[in-house]
């Protein structure tokens, strides 16, 4: 299981939005009333988060490169789930894992920093199975 590097920042607090997963089925009856019942619990919560990555962090150096390597190697371009301290500390989810969906969108701001917008799904760790690994040769 991949772990969010300590050298990368947590999401920006003032720019995050969420679409909660809905596992309920709705049926409109003839009277107009709606019947609602739960069907499973697989739908995860979809968060849109922003990360401010510095090109020359005083301690960690080029955070944009660290993120690119983490996304490519550890997350396998978003296939693998990862754990992060900010999932519990900032978003309030205990015992949950996250996964990047879609390619992160990067906004360049000169040579100083990048603003990365990423869609992340968050789900209970107990509902997540082991990562899929493919035998790949000659991976740098």
């Amino acid at each position: 299981m991949a772990i969010w590097p300590e050298s990368l920042p947590c999401p920006r607090q003032n720019s995050c939005s969420v679409t909660l997963g809905e596992n309920a089925l709705h049926r409109t009856m003839q009277s107009g009333q709606k019947e609602v019942r739960r069907y499973g619990s697989a739908a995860p919560d979809l968060w849109t988060l922003n990360f401010l990555l510095l090109k020359a962090h005083h301690e960690y150096g080029d955070q944009t490169k660290i993120f690119a390597q983490f996304y490519r190697n550890d997350l396998n371009f978003g296939v693998n789930w990862f754990s992060a301290a900010w999932i519990a500390a900032q978003l309030g989810y205990p015992d949950h894992l996250a996964k990047l969906v879609e390619y992160p969108v990067t906004q360049f701001y000169g040579l100083s920093y990048h603003d990365v917008s990423a869609k992340v799904i968050i789900q209970k760790a107990s509902a997540i199975k082991a990562d899929t690994s493919w035998p790949v040769a000659n991976v740098a």
Binding site: S31, G32, V36, R37, R38
Partner: protein, 129 residues
């Protein structure tokens, strides 16, 4: 019936609108006059603002686990709106937004009518004031 937890805000932001729905038994039927129901359902969206992360997660957990995303529940602010014998059911997942340093949660519900009863348990349905 599940009651709204006391650990959550006891009243939403006072800027919601109650929209009556399903007031007519059959809107398509060509009867004159239309058959109407005394207590139609209402749709509303209750907003809770300036919540901390813990309160936001408590509300989300109440919707996801306690209510199981579909169970009806009673709310303490409904009697103040003139809906003494009514209860709610979520019509969709809550919408969560970040507003500055806090969270704002909007919960879409359908408000149903129960059976109006006095303290002795007698039905007061149909009484004129």
């Amino acid at each position: 019936m599940i009651a709204w937890p006391e650990s959550l805000p006891q009243c939403p932001a006072r800027e919601f609108q109650l929209v009556p729905i399903n007031g007519q038994a059959d809107a398509e039927e060509q009867l004159s006059p239309y058959r109407v129901r005394t207590y139609p359902e209402h749709s509303a969206t209750f907003s809770f603002k300036a919540l901390s992360t813990e309160e936001m997660q408590a509300l989300r957990t109440f919707y996801d686990l306690t209510l199981n995303q579909c169970a009806p529940f009673t709310a303490p602010w409904l009697p103040q709106c003139g809906l003494e014998h009514h209860f709610c059911q979520c019509s969709g997942p809550p919408t969560i937004e970040r507003t500055g340093t806090h969270w704002s949660v909007s919960l879409p519900v359908v408000i149903y009518s129960g059976v109006p009863m006095d303290e002795a348990g007698n039905i007061t349905y149909g009484e004129r004031e």
